[in-house]
């Protein structure tokens, strides 16, 4: 458990300035989301319909995937199926090598991050260029994204300037976002023009039409798919929606929830390749069918990857995306990661205050805090929680179950607490007391105060 969320978060908050800066930066996006959603008078109706569409889709995923396959094939798209990350990576690699492609431009795809496609291809001699600016920044820095919408949100502009000075030959000391973005534009233009293939994620795949929709603000997906002769789109099985008109619902929700924009700058609908080019769609399960079978967490598959839950999460904002140790951080990642691999991500369901703010902002109304609680119970049941925590919880449950014992424990604490020396109270395992003062103990219990008040009232009436 040494590499869990608490330990990684402790490293992040050790830099107090950065932790506060990160908190504010992320909160600002949450506020933009609030303004944008409040301006839409049918927002709650929209969320309800979106949740309903996703619920419906999950009950008929296989049917809709087959319908999508039929219709996309009719448009000249070649469909591939991958059970897991290894199969996905092998399919993409074969598509590239069969055509002699050595340079691949990628637009943002959390699925390929999940499958660790980049290192797989790089180890086999293919140059992979992430073309979303934030993704390119973290790629150059040799680190994973820390946010699903803003991959480099943890980086200060001065650090990005230093990175670009090394890799893009920008001026020493330059940190103006406009200047750095312009440098990246020229750098990436060259990459787009010389690429042999473009890879994109998929925001929505429409069963009824066999089309896929990719949303970006930068236009990098459009650049990457309109120049090279090969377009590979990778999607999880849950990206399917039944009808094209459902896009009206999701496109109204997605960007407003993500960044507070009314819609992304580019929402591109692909139905087949350009003349003379090829288009392939890789449909990936990688554990999703298992999540579908688990009632308590299956609605996590409704996620449209807007990032609103992380922007609002008090734990994410203060601990940073990297502390989660998973491709998708924040509340939704804290469900998805342990769902896939409970032993490696046992601390994540506890990286939450269960305040429910994530569920409040979720555009598809995933009950994230309930899911996190369910996963905590599962972790405890499977003994994936540290023994100290389990012991304390068992002890607490025991005390709470016996009212006499509970009253005695309270009485004892109220008397012992004020007289114990500090060094006994603030011992190493008093985690609460590390950054805080313990509360001042009241003289009486709530029960005693309540009874006294009732006696007084009765006396006043009589």
């Amino acid at each position: 458990m040494a590499s869990g969320h608490p330990e990684a978060a402790a490293r992040f908050v050790a830099n107090d300035d950065r932790a506060h800066w990160h908190d504010q930066a992320v909160w600002w996006i949450r506020q933009k989301r609030d303004t944008a959603s409040a301006a839409v008078t049918d927002w709650e109706a929209l969320r309800g319909v979106a949740a309903g569409i996703k619920r419906h889709v999950l009950s008929r995923l296989a049917d809709y995937l087959e319908e999508f396959e039929r219709n996309a094939t009719a448009h000249g798209v070649q469909i591939h199926w991958a059970r897991d990350a290894a199969e996905h990576n092998a399919i993409v690699h074969k598509l590239l090598t069969d055509r002699g492609v050595t340079k691949l431009v990628k637009s943002k795809s959390m699925l390929t991050e999940e499958c660790k496609l980049n290192p797989y291809l790089e180890a086999r001699g293919i140059e992979v260029i992430d073309t979303d600016l934030g993704e390119r920044i973290v790629q150059l820095a040799g680190e994973p994204p820390s946010h699903i919408v803003m991959p480099a949100i943890h980086r200060r502009k001065e650090e990005i300037g230093e990175l670009f000075q090394i890799h893009l030959r920008t001026k020493p000391g330059a940190s103006d976002p406009k200047y750095l973005t312009e440098a990246a534009r020229h750098h990436l233009r060259d990459k787009f023009l010389e690429a042999g293939a473009g890879l994109t994620g998929v925001n929505f795949a429409v069963a009824e039409t066999g089309g896929i929709v990719v949303c970006t603000n930068e236009g990098n997906a459009d650049m990457g798919t309109s120049l090279p002769p090969l377009h590979i789109a990778c999607m999880g099985v849950e990206k399917i929606i039944p009808r094209e008109r459902d896009l009206g619902v999701f496109l109204r929700l997605l960007a407003r929830s993500a960044t507070g924009q009314p819609v992304t700058a580019y929402s591109t609908h692909y139905h087949g390749p350009r003349p003379g080019a090829e288009m392939h769609v890789v449909i990936v399960d990688n554990g999703r069918a298992d999540i579908l079978g688990r009632e308590a967490i299956r609605s996590a598959l409704s996620c449209i990857r807007c990032g609103a839950c992380m922007n609002t999460c008090p734990v994410y904002r203060r601990s940073g995306g990297h502390s989660y140790g998973y491709t998708v951080p924040g509340p939704i990642g804290s469900v998805l990661a342990p769902a896939r691999d409970p032993a490696s991500h046992a601390s994540l369901p506890f990286a939450s205050t269960l305040c429910g703010s994530c569920a409040d902002v979720c555009p598809v109304r995933i009950d994230l805090h309930h899911q996190l609680l369910a996963l905590r119970q599962e972790m405890a049941h499977n003994k994936l929680v540290p023994w100290q925590k389990r012991t304390v919880l068992r002890l607490t449950a025991w005390v709470m179950a016996w009212s006499g014992l509970y009253r005695f424990a309270g009485w004892l604490t109220r008397r012992l607490w004020p007289v114990l020396p500090r060094r006994l109270l603030y011992v190493r395992w008093n985690v609460w007391g590390r950054q805080r003062e313990l509360p001042v103990m009241p003289r009486d219990s709530f029960g005693a105060k309540y009874r006294r008040l009732r006696r007084l009232r009765r006396g006043a009436r009589g």
Binding site: A62, L65, R252, Y266
Partner: protein, 200 residues
Amino acid sequence: MASTRSSRDDILAALRRNAPEASAAPGLDGLGVVFADPFAELARSMVAVGGAYVRVADIAAAHAAVAALPQAGSAKKIASLVPGVGQPTIDLTAIDDPHALADLDLAVLPGELAVAENAAVWVDGKSLPHRAVFVITDHLVLVVHARDVVSHMHQAYERLAGRSRGHGLFISGPSKTADIEQVLVVGAQGARTCALVIVG
């Protein structure tokens, strides 16, 4: 492809096995906010997404409005797919390889409809000899007829329902990013400016 065939069957079987009980798809009736003055809302949205908005009476006035744009004045390589608007210097249909468009300064393209709530303009791929045009150009002008302005996205998809499906997209303003310290920078990988001209 034997192995991928069985992957397909495995995945579909697992999704069927684990599917929750049936839940009906909700209707979309009543969604969307209809604006009393969609043009005013469209203008407001266009400016909010970093673009420019102008409404003119006819094609001749659209041509004049485009000529008056500062980005048009300095443009050397110009393409136009809207007859009578802009002064094209190249013929897109005569170009074989989209890489030749890397130095395109200005593109004037027809939009099939414009959505007031978010300034999204539908550009149909069938009208473009090359998909790259709208994103590779430095500056973009979209021309939409006034009768093709709708209030919201649900109306937009109703209008698009009857088309034959190929490549197409909604463009809302210029290319942009806020990936460096959340500072909005207009002109990321795609068009640096985007002007919407409403005719009629």
